[in-house]
Amino acid sequence: MRKSSIFLIFILGCTLVLSLVFLDAHFQTAGDLPFLRQEIKVVETLKLTDLCLTTEARHTRHPSQADWHSPFQSHPGALDHFPSGAIIQPPETIIKGYEPHRQ
């Protein structure tokens, strides 16, 4: 068999797998809708505000609720020592409660 035939079969095979990936994503998303509705209901009923991505620190467990100082709570000048603090950035709106708006 020609090398180009083997290569084209390989690329076609990969493209087919990629199409199956899209198909899988489509069906999984459709299949997950009842669970997503359940999650929405949980948020509504329990009045939740954040996703549970990590549980090690309050500013990464509830980034939308934490105050500006919670990552540096140990002592004045302390650094955030939680690894998840390096990947979950604070919301930009967090400072609005502390700083008067400057025009």
């Binding site: 090398k3 180009s4 290569f7 390989f10 690329i11 990969c14 493209t15 797998v17 990629l18 990936v21 899209f22 899988d24 994503a25 999984q28 998303t29 997950d32 669970f35 997503l36 359940q38 999650e39 929405i40 209901k41 949980v42 948020v43 009923t45 329990l46 009045k47 939740l48 505000t49 996703l51 549970c52 991505l53 990590t54 549980t55 090690e56 620190a57 309050r58 990464t60 467990r61 509830h62 980034p63 939308s64 609720q65 105050d67 500006w68 100082h69 919670s70 939680f82 690894p83 998840s84 390096a86 990947i87 979950i88 950035q89 919301p91 930009e92 709106t93 609005k96 409660g97 502390y98």
Partner: protein
């Protein structure tokens, strides 16, 4: 038409033979290139899926939350604030929330304790998240010991386990009665953790928030929009791990591009010279190099994307989970809904396949336009 196809297939045959002659080098190239695409696609799939799910799910979060701040920190809010907020025009209802954190020294994990007003639990009972049930080996009817603020033990019975499907929200959650919550943390009756405010007209939420801050300057209102925006930006490109992965991938890619664009090896130049000497035209040489570049980049692109999908959506992102987990003992076993769009794939294709293919052609074009005799002699 068949003549053109045959010619291109012959050139592709030759390109593949040429790549196989330097098997080790090209295999290493495809492997690293695949890893670059894999890293970029994994970050893209993970962040997009998380952002989409957060946007969908957190749309049901309270429209306005009011916290009390003391010395820059979140503090307990007096229930007397409820009446003051209710006086603001447009406010429909104000409800206190009781929630907080409990550190379990037994397994060294943090729990989030929450009082559910909609379906209140009887005293001395709790409902726990699936993550807690897993690490504490708890089931319906089992008892969990807590230590109150004054050191006294409080034994609570598990009445139910929260659904595993909602682990992305409730893995570390413990639902508890208001009386037990107050006893555990010593919170006096006239205080709550924060307040949720319902506003009649959605367009007036920002105005109501501004009025609350005006009348109660020691409070911080948090709008639903702000919570949603938090998750839109939470894994922004500026966030630590994302920029590290992107920089690593970008640097690796720059090395490829530099290696290619800096010029061809003497062997490759000689090959071009011989091809031209035996009658190949410049356009043929360029087509040969185009097929070589495309074979490498397309193989790496397709493999990288497929592996990234398996990593994020079928294997539950084990590489990212290690980083996000950090020092936490209790970690949610969540599976993300695969929100994958064609535009994501197109963007990745444009940023990975196109530059590499172009970088392969340019130096070849330079070599192919020089006299074959001169190329073979250098």
């Amino acid at each position: 038409m068949s003549h053109i196809v045959n010619k291109q297939r012959n050139i592709l045959d030759f390109a593949l033979s040429s790549l196989l002659r330097r098997k080790g080098r090209n295999l290493a190239l495809v492997t690293v290139y695949t890893l670059v695409v894999f890293a970029l696609a994994s970050v893209m799939f993970f962040t997009q899926a998380l952002k989409k799910e957060a946007a969908l799910v957190l749309g049901a979060t309270p429209e306005l939350i009011v916290q009390k701040m003391v010395a820059g920190r979140h503090d307990l809010i007096p229930l007397s604030y409820i009446d003051q907020i209710k006086k603001i025009r447009g406010v429909a209802a104000v409800t206190p929330r009781l929630w907080g954190y409990y550190y379990d020294p037994l397994i060294r994990a943090n729990y989030t304790l929450l009082v559910n007003d909609t379906y209140p639990l009887p005293e001395k009972t709790i409902a726990v998240g699936a993550g807690i049930a897993r690490v504490r080996n708890a089931h319906r009817g089992s008892k969990i010991n807590f230590f109150a603020y004054d050191g006294k033990p409080v034994v609570l019975q598990v009445r139910g386990i929260l659904s595993e499907e909602s682990e992305l929200l409730s893995s570390d959650l413990i639902l508890i009665s208001a009386a037990d919550f107050r006893r555990l943390f010593g919170i006096p009756a006239g205080y709550a953790t924060d307040l949720t405010v319902q506003v009649r007209n959605q367009k007036e939420i920002a105005t109501v928030a501004a009025k609350i801050q005006q009348f109660l300057p020691d409070t911080r209102p948090i709008l639903r929009d702000e919570i949603m925006r938090t998750y839109e930006a939470v894994f922004d490109w500026r966030a630590g791990i994302v920029i590290v992965v992107l920089l690593g991938a970008l640097l690796a890619f720059l090395i490829f591009a530099w290696d290619k664009a800096a010029g061809l090896s003497a062997e490759e130049r000689r090959e071009i010279g011989i091809l031209k000497a035996i009658g190949w035209e410049t356009a043929d040489v360029l087509q040969l190099k185009f097929w070589e570049g495309l074979s490498v980049s397309l193989t790496a692109f397709l493999l990288g994307i497929i592996l990234a999908y398996i990593h994020i959506f079928l294997a539950a992102a084990p590489l990212f989970a290690t980083v996000i987990k950090g020092w936490s003992i209790l970690y949610p076993n969540f599976r993300l809904t695969p929100f994958v769009s064609f535009s994501q794939i197109a963007v990745l294709f444009f940023f990975t396949v196109a530059p590499y293919t172009v970088a392969t052609i340019i130096p070849s074009w330079r070599a192919a336009t020089i006299d074959p005799d001169q190329v073979m002699r250098t």
